[in-house]
Amino acid sequence: MRKKYLGLCTLAIWLFLVLAFMILARTVDMEVFFVLWLIGILIIVELVSDLSATPRYLRVVRMVIAAGVVLFGFIVARKILEILQQ
């Protein structure tokens, strides 16, 4: 199986497990879900990426990760504001 599809399957399984555990724990939190997605995709991209060549889909995925990092920063900023306001 090509790395592209293997990575996709792994990410889907990872997200499914995260969501299943969240529902079992009755604490579905989209922020936590997003952060776990980001961690998952970072690990998978690192494992899938090649030494000498970058497939086009990986370039797109890396742009998505960069946007995810900015969004992660926004979540952190919100949390800090909540703490400051308390």
């Binding site: 996709l8 399957c9 990426s49 000498s52 900023a77």
Partner: protein, 594 residues
């Protein structure tokens, strides 16, 4: 086939994910007390009674410890070991706090457990008062011995009066303890707890009251036998206009001081051994004081008057009756991350002033408001964004009133906007803006660094050539990649052979490597082998085993290894054999079309 299998697997996982999220989006709470199970076969665990399930298993040992705690404490008090009793009291206080937090965390604020918790809190208060009372009683006992030896009738009178007030108070505590037992024991039996030690503590408490009673009677008798032979120079009387009172009602204490005291005498009034007023005696020694019942707990109280520590009035008792109180909470006003709460505390038609009202969110105290002259309170409470259940609570404490709960309001505090300021004068709240900007800036830099680091990483691997050959149309090739020669392979093979023959005259080993390099590159291209420069001759031989020319290739490679790595040989026949072998391979690897 593999691709379609992967897509099928992803879809298989994606569809349940989406279904689960959709279910969650429609109803954020999977189980709440109000939601009914979707099918008759399912049970909603949130709506089950708190007595069932695993929660009580966590709380029962704690309840057992709390039931046993008063027994040890009262036993220590009876034996006069106040140090040990103090430790027991602190331990009981900690256990009570643990129970309170556990009850709130487990959301078990209804039913028998709530009754148990309330009765236990009351018991803690009773036992704290009992501890203070018996400790003071012990001090009075020591003082009595000392003053009896020094034959000081004034001090003995003072001790007797204070002892009388303490006796009244401890009797009162015993009655309250009995009342709370009436609530605590049935609740404990519901949880099947062992109440033997608690019941024994009731008997011990009764014994303490009986002992104090006997001791006080003896003290009074002793005082009478010691002081009656001597006529005191002054006499003081005390009367009151009523024996029962309520919150905000008045009691008038009056009396007269006889014996012609010098100057302008002042009469001190004591309620429960605490001085409440110092009143001047008018002409003829008459005095009068009106006491407003406001912060005096319900129950029986003692009062006596003293003139200059030399004349004591008789001890009088009066009773304060408890009044019901009513606490109302207005609908909360929502703000950014905060909520404004207001309400009123009343005792019948009377406002309750200077009373502390607790504001609770999910049963936890978040702030404390104080009522004004009209019994009103208003407070701004900061709350975390999200849903809350707000309620106000008035704990009567020193008021002769019942405790009161307000109605509960479910509210949802909106999340704070990073660009709104709590102060209307400023367009932006600078610290918040700075912190948000700093974090977002860091996140942006991290994102840029991630992208740049990846590119730099690719550049740093300059020495590793060779792309993944398969599906090269799908790949964006690294800029540092040197592609294999795309010139006419036949002509290039000839050129390599000519170059080999030239170099072979001086350095056969280096010449052999040029042949090997060319063959390796050509085969890697044909067989789609990644990283060809890392392939050894034997790896190349094994990779090409399915090719028709594999045997000749392996012969060439073996020869190449002999020439390249064997002992120094400069034989022309070796050079010729290698060239022949290479030439024969050129035809099969597409290098020669002749």
């Amino acid at each position: 086939m593999r691709r379609s299998l992967a897509i099928f697997l992803v879809l298989l996982l994606l569809v349940p994910c989406l279904v689960l999220i959709a279910m969650e989006a429609a109803s954020p709470l999977l189980y709440s007390k109000n939601s009914s199970p979707p099918t008759p076969d399912q049970v909603n665990p949130a709506s089950l009674e708190p007595l069932t399930g695993g929660k009580p298993q966590q709380i029962l040992p704690l309840m057992n410890d709390l039931l046993d705690a008063p027994g040890t404490l009262i036993l220590d008090l009876r034996s006069g070991d106040f140090e040990e009793a103090g430790r027991d009291l602190r331990e009981m206080h900690d256990l009570t706090q643990s129970l309170d937090s556990l009850v709130i965390n487990l959301d078990m604020t209804e039913g028998e457990l709530a009754e148990f918790r309330r009765a236990n809190q009351k018991n803690l208060q009773i036992l704290t008062d009992l501890f203070n009372g018996t400790e003071r009683w012990d001090e009075l006992r020591s003082l009595e011995v000392r003053f009896r030896d020094s034959d000081d009738p004034r001090a003995l009178t003072s001790i007797t009066y204070e002892g009388e007030a303490l006796r009244q108070r401890i009797r009162e505590l015993y009655q309250e303890y009995q009342e709370e037992s009436g609530i605590l024991l049935p609740a404990s039996e519901k949880f099947e707890l062992d109440t033997a030690q608690y019941e024994a503590s009731q008997a011990e408490f009764g014994e303490i009251v009986r002992e104090l009673n006997d001791e006080q009677e003896t003290r009074i008798q002793n005082l009478q036998t010691r002081t009656t032979p001597v006529e005191p120079p002054f006499r003081l009387t005390l009367e009151m206009d009523r024996k029962f009172a309520f919150y905000m009602s008045t009691i008038t204490f009056q009396g007269a001081l006889s014996g012609e005291p010098p100057g302008s005498p002042r009469i001190d009034l004591f309620i429960d051994t605490e001085k409440v007023a110092s009143v001047p005696a008018a002409g003829g020694g008459n005095y009068r004081y009106t006491y407003l019942v406001e912060r005096l707990p319900s129950g029986t109280h003692t009062v006596f008057a003293v003139y200059a520590d030399s004349a004591y009035s008789g001890i009088q008792t009066f009773r304060i009756e408890e009044m019901p109180s009513d606490l109302s909470l207005d609908p909360p006003e929502l703000g950014d991350g905060s909520v404004i709460l207001s309400g009123r505390l009343m005792a019948g038609t009377l406002p309750v002033r200077d009373a502390e009202v607790e504001i609770l969110s999910e049963g936890r105290r978040t702030s404390l408001a104080t009522t004004d002259e009209q019994g009103r309170f208003r407070i701004q409470v900061r709350l975390a964004p999200g849903p809350h259940r707000i309620q106000a609570f008035f704990d009567h404490g020193s008021f002769p009133l019942s405790s009161a709960w307000s109605g509960a309001y479910p509210i949802t505090v909106p999340g704070p906007s990073p660009f709104t300021s709590p102060e209307p004068g400023f367009p932006l709240d600078l610290p918040q803006l700075l912190s948000t900007g700093a974090v977002l800036g860091c996140a942006f830099l991290a994102a840029v660094a991630y992208l740049r680091y990846r590119r730099a990483g690719a550049r740093s691997r300059k020495g590793i050539p060779g792309p993944v050959a398969s599906g090269s149309h799908d790949l964006s090739v690294s800029p540092d990649f040197v592609p294999p020669p795309a010139t006419d392979p036949g002509a290039e093979g000839e050129a390599v052979l000519s170059r080999y023959l030239e170099i072979a005259e001086t350095d056969l080993r280096e010449a052999a490597f040029t042949l090997y390099s060319y063959l390796r590159r050509a085969l890697a291209s044909r067989l789609a082998l990644p990283h060809p420069s890392s392939l050894t001759p034997r790896e190349l031989c094994s990779r090409a085993e399915k090719m028709p020319f594999s045997s000749r290739l392996c012969v060439f490679l073996r020869k190449y290894e002999e020439v390249r790595y064997g002992e120094a040989r400069q034989k022309s026949e070796d050079a010729g054999e290698l060239a022949d072998s290479f030439y024969s391979l050129l035809k099969d690897t597409g290098g020669d079309r002749s």
